[in-house]
């Protein structure tokens, strides 16, 4: 083995280190005692990180042909980059430098100078042995494909797609429903300003539909994702619409003529009807309908084709022979904006949703209010004719509740206040809101609450125990009775109303865990996607090149969803602009000859970085996916995985150095360690 030429640099950090550690003794000891281990120079200096300190190291690297450097100063979290750069500037590979944290881990935490100096020696000795085994590494540079995939075209996905497309870059926008728009397309008015949801959303949808940089794939789903940042290969299934997009004019005659009518559970939240050939709403983007095969009479019974008969286009736009298309695309970055599902209020049987006719869910109420909805915006009871004279709105349904979801759904308070206002404005009915706390942070939200208070909406604080139609007192007959403990007066109350609205919470998509697995990111316990950092990196994920936005990341309102969509787009544009990305070369590698093909490692990797080469029957690690945690290295029974910058040899060498020095001069210890460098190999 060739002897390395190692330089050791001990920093005084003014008196920060020098006050507790005998730095002079340390450097002369290192030059002397560690000479046989390759140390050719050891210096101490007042401020190693200063430009003069760095110069000292740089000129030694050049003049003394150093091949390794140990800097004993502060924490690597502070100055590793500084000293790596210095080495690089002097022509030494930056990964051939190792730091010892003398300041944070020795000087600042110990008081006895002799003991602190002894410990410092042990640490330096460990670093010297370790650094000798370091290998030069180069950052892995991956080219960034400029096209971005956005999954989910609710408001946050739309925002992300538009930001990127407007910046001149290509976007593939995949939406599983026949139209883009997401939940926002179902809403009537939006708090706190009460703008009409469609009025602010539709223009954006139209822009998406006609944007030259957006390849819009609705009625489509991502089936598989391979590869890594810069070069993801995605497989997309474009489901057969049975309608030719190149000829359909979107006139809608087919939908009128289709004899198969069914309840629309998605867009109309179960309140309205649609036909088997449908588009969810008139302003749908794209305008082409889809045939829902399961409910199409022709597909089920072989006869009908009414749509085809009435379609006015030539050639006919209806094509029963159409098949699913499988597309394979390469994209550089991915943004997941798959949104949320509404909490299913049937899960709380005592609230009677699904059993008591006049208990409505929040989304049903949005459709009731909506001028384009099933009642043309009239707030009516389930019979479709009578107006309620009294309405109870229950907050936090399924949220902040140990039995369902512990978290706060963030939007229900404001949404309930919005409902109270709309009921008052449109029907003049008596409105009572049942709440646990009113949560109205953010701009103009509390002002909205104050406004609703002035409208004489009543507020009862207490969690509702039950909604029932069992009348017990005069005045309760034919009504829904809300049973609640009013916690202000400490009494049980029964409040009869005509209509109950349940402000159901926001839940992760039912398939969010599956989706997260497909894209190699993680979910929290509830199923919301996990961000890289909850405060400082809210739209990135642990998987490089995969970003998240909107309610898929956690409950939030429209402004926050838009902000995240734009933020994710900005992050993506940043990487596209760089054209390539440098990845840390600290990662695991399979030593082909040693791998037995047992595949124990592959299940342990949290990033699905470990694949299997069927031909050679060995595991392979994708350097762009590996984040270098090292778990597989310690798990491989054949010692077939090595880690750059964390190999077993390097760690054992460090331990050896550390322990060897722990006994020198420590009078208390008699026995010398049984652990010799020779054993390591």
């Amino acid at each position: 083995m060739k002897q390395e030429r190692i330089g050791v640099y001990v920093c005084h950090c003014g008196s920060n280190i020098a006050g507790t550690v005998d730095v002079g003794q340390l450097s002369s000891w290192a030059a002397d005692a560690l000479e046989k281990r390759g140390v050719v120079v050891a210096r101490d200096y007042k401020f190693m990180c200063s430009s003069l300190g760095q110069e000292l190291i740089k000129s030694d690297i050049v003049e003394l042909s150093l091949t390794r450097v140990v800097v004993a100063a502060c924490s690597p979290h502070l100055h590793e980059k500084t000293f790596r750069t210095a080495c690089q500037q002097a022509g030494l590979n930056p990964y051939l430098m190792e730091m010892v944290s003398l300041r944070e881990h020795v000087a600042w935490v110990h008081s006895d100078k002799a003991l602190a100096t002894q410990k410092a020696k042990a640490l330096i000795s460990g670093a010297v042995e370790r650094v000798a085994l370091h290998e030069p590494l180069d950052p892995i540079s991956v080219p960034i494909e400029a096209t971005t995939l956005v999954v989910g075209a609710g408001i946050s996905g739309i925002q992300a797609a538009l930001e990127i497309a407007d910046a001149g870059q290509k976007v593939v926008l995949v939406e599983r429903e026949p139209s883009i728009g997401g939940h926002m397309a179902q809403l009537d008015k939006t708090f706190p300003t009460l703008d009409c949801s469609a009025c602010i959303l539709t223009p954006k949808m139209v822009t998406v539909g006609s944007h030259p940089n957006i390849n819009l794939l609705t009625w489509s789903e991502v089936e598989a994702v391979d590869g890594f940042v810069g070069q993801f290969t995605v497989t997309i299934r474009k489901k057969a619409r049975y309608v030719r997009e190149d000829v359909c004019t979107g006139c809608g005659i087919c939908m009128e003529k289709c004899p198969s009518k069914l309840i629309d559970q998605v867009y109309e939240a179960g309140l309205g009807y649609r036909s088997a050939i449908y588009r969810p709403f008139p302003q749908a983007i794209p305008k082409y309908p889809v045939i829902d095969k399961a409910n199409c009479i022709y597909f089920q019974r072989g006869k009908c084709k009414a749509c085809q008969l009435f379609c006015p286009t030539t050639p006919n736009a209806i094509d029963f022979e159409q098949e699913d298309q499988i597309l394979q695309l390469t994209v550089g970055n991915i943004i997941l904006a798959t949104g949320y599902d509404l909490f299913d209020a049937r899960r709380i049987p005592q609230y009677g949703y699904g059993r008591l006719a006049n208990v409505f869910s929040s989304l049903e109420f949005e459709r009731l209010c909506n001028a384009a909805g099933p009642t043309e915006g009239k707030i009516l009871l389930r019979d479709g004719v009578s107006q309620p004279e009294s309405v109870g709105i229950i907050h936090c349904v399924g949220s902040r509740d140990r039995n369902y979801n512990n978290y706060c759904s963030a939007i229900c308070c404001m949404q309930s206040l919005k409902f109270a206002h709309l009921v008052k404005e449109r029907t003049g009915a008596k409105v009572t809101n049942f709440y646990i706390d009113i949560r109205t942070p953010y701009k103009d939200y509390d002002e909205f609450y104050q406004h609703v208070l002035q409208e004489k909406v009543e507020f009862v604080r207490g969690r509702v125990a039950e909604v029932t139609d069992a009348a017990r007192r005069p005045g309760e007959e034919g009504k829904l009775i809300i049973q609640v403990e009013d916690t202000f007066i400490g009494k049980q109350r029964r409040i009869p109303v005509d209509m109950v609205i349940l402000s159901a919470g926001i839940e992760p998509r039912h398939d969010s865990k599956e989706v997260s697995r497909k894209f190699g990111i993680s979910c929290n316990g509830s199923g919301f996607f996990t961000e890289l950092h909850p405060k400082l990196d809210p739209v990135a994920t642990m998987s490089k090149g995969i970003f998240i936005a909107g309610c898929a990341q956690g409950p939030k309102d429209i402004p926050a969803s838009v902000v995240q969509g734009a933020a994710a787009a900005a992050r993506v544009l940043g990487t596209i602009q760089q054209k390539s990305l440098d990845l840390e070369p600290v990662l695991a590698q399979v030593i082909d000859q040693k791998c037995s093909g047992c595949r124990i490692c592959s299940n342990l990797c949290p990033f699905n970085a470990i694949g299997f080469d069927l031909e050679r029957q060995i595991s392979t690690i994708n350097p762009a996916l590996c984040q270098g945690c090292g778990t597989c290295v310690s798990a491989c029974p054949s010692h077939a995985i090595s880690g750059t910058q964390f190999s077993t040899e390097q760690i054992l060498a460090q331990l050896h150095g550390l322990l060897a020095e722990s006994f020198n001069g420590n009078g208390a210890r008699t026995q010398s360690p049984a652990f010799s460098q020779a054993e390591l190999v």
């Binding site: 410990k119 949290p606 310690s634 760690i651 208390a668 210890r669 652990f675």
Partner: protein
């Protein structure tokens, strides 16, 4: 325990501490910045993640002269690499069982979770662990031949997966 002999009386244990880059190493940094004091008997080694913890490292450390080992990492659920610290926890439990099977006090190997914000907490835990190991006395005596030689790498690996 037998009565203390001279060797034990002025016994300064050597404890090797394994830290992960993201939480516990930063906790140690913060302990420094907060000037929280702990005994100089501990020597910290940095991994990227506690999931890198190989039982071989612990056994070699004990064999090589350490009197105890402290394993640290991010709190469960907070591992930078999602959940690798659960694997560390599993390995730790197996290792402890093995230690007692070989006749050594399992308390020589300890586990502490510390977030990057828990500098003072980590300092207290280090002090506690050092004192507990001091109380156990030296692992190696002149008369001892450490029986760790008995544990082959194969057995260690079983504990790893």
């Amino acid at each position: 325990m037998e009565t203390l002999n001279a060797e034990q009386l002025n016994f300064e244990p050597v404890v090797v501490g394994f830290t992960c880059n993201w939480c516990s190493y930063r906790a140690a940094d913060l302990a420094g910045m907060s000037r929280a004091k702990y005994p100089a008997n501990i020597r910290l080694v940095r991994f990227m993640c506690s999931g890198r913890l190989d039982p071989v490292f612990i056994m070699k450390a004990l064999k090589g002269g350490a009197d105890g080992v402290l394993i640290t990492g991010c709190h469960p659920g907070e591992c930078h690499y999602l959940e690798q610290n659960y694997k560390a926890l599993k390995r730790f439990k197996l290792l402890r069982r093995m230690l007692s099977q070989f006749g050594y006090e399992p308390e020589r190997v300890q586990l502490v979770w510390a977030s990057a914000a828990e500098g003072t907490y980590l300092a207290h835990q280090i002090s506690r662990v050092v004192e507990e190991i001091r109380a156990l006395g030296p692992l190696h005596r002149a008369s001892d031949t450490p029986s760790f030689e008995l544990i082959g790498d194969a057995q260690l690996q079983e504990a790893t997966v």
